[in-house]
């Protein structure tokens, strides 16, 4: 609850910022958000619940990781698509899941799908396995590990 309250406060402050500055642009809102985030972080050092302030960097980290993966994979795929020869080795891989929540699984699956070259096909009914179709599966274990250490770990740390 406290986490949510922090988040709402943060948004409220940003809105107030926009109102005060009288410049309703998105950049300004974003600036207000960052500003109030740091202010809140600074003034709530004694608060018991620090999760919110840890969460934001994690989210940012995930976003950056996602974009990194995205660009990397994109280049790979782009290369493969635009050259006559195929370098790929596609397969459907079962990825065991540690993440349990619906939202978590959905986000994970979507992130995987959004990254070029991989496609989440389905989640098993007991939510223990995510089936992923991937373009470059030279080593199945390596691939599973990559996903688990990449997206899932970051997501898990946010979702807990």
């Amino acid at each position: 609850m406290i986490m949510q309250r922090h988040f709402l406060l943060n948004i409220l402050f940003s809105i107030i910022w926009v109102a005060v500055t009288g410049e309703p642009t998105f950049v300004n809102f974003f600036f207000g958000f960052i500003l109030s985030f740091f202010i809140m972080w600074a003034v709530s050092a004694r608060s018991k619940d620090q999760r919110y302030f840890r969460l934001i960097p994690k989210v940012i980290s995930l976003v950056f990781y996602f974009f990194f993966e995205l660009i990397k994979a994109n280049l790979q795929v782009a290369f493969d698509v635009s050259t006559p020869h195929y370098f790929m080795k596609p397969a459907i891989v079962a990825v065991p899941l540690d993440i349990k929540s619906d939202l978590g699984i959905t986000i994970l699956a979507n992130l995987i799908t959004l990254t070029p070259g991989t496609l989440s096909l389905d989640v098993s009914d007991d939510r223990k396995t995510l089936y992923v179709h991937a373009m470059y599966v030279f080593d199945k274990k390596e691939f599973v590990k990559h996903i688990k250490n990449g997206f899932e770990r970051r997501l898990l740390s946010i979702m807990q």
């Binding site: 795929v77 698509v81 080795k89 397969a91 992130l111 496609l119 009914d125 599966v137």
Partner: protein, 121 residues
């Protein structure tokens, strides 16, 4: 200057779309095409949206552009997932050079329930 930026982002976006369409044209099986098309398309459109947000530089418009991007980011993979799943159910074949299929035999075709990997028959 901003015009240049806009042009640049647009170009990258358009290229993404172009690549996606090239992929969909060239890839040898359905799953690969989905793999390529979904993100390429989404990325491309997302970038062009960003460019337009930059161009108009208006709060409301930027919000809307972001909302659309957000929406695309959610829907595109979900759509891909649905289609991929259904394609698999419809026995759309994998590329002949695919290296493995963990899904094989996991679907119960009567009620479409899906077993996890470690469950045995």
């Amino acid at each position: 200057m901003i015009d240049f930026l806009i042009a640049l982002i647009c170009t990258i976006g358009a290229l993404f779309i172009f690549l996606a369409s090239l992929g969909i044209l060239r890839m040898p099986d359905f799953y690969l095409r989905v793999s390529v098309a979904t993100k390429g398309g989404t990325m491309g459109v997302g970038l062009i949206l960003v460019a337009s947000a930059l161009y108009f530089g208006d709060f409301g418009i930027t919000t809307r552009a972001l909302a659309i991007i957000f929406f695309l980011l959610i829907t595109a993979p979900v759509g891909a997932h649905l289609l991929g799943r259904v394609a698999y159910l419809s026995k759309v074949p994998l590329w002949k050079e695919s290296s493995g299929d963990d899904l094989e035999g996991k679907y119960n075709r009567k009620n479409l329930s899906l077993k996890s990997n470690d469950e045995e028959e």
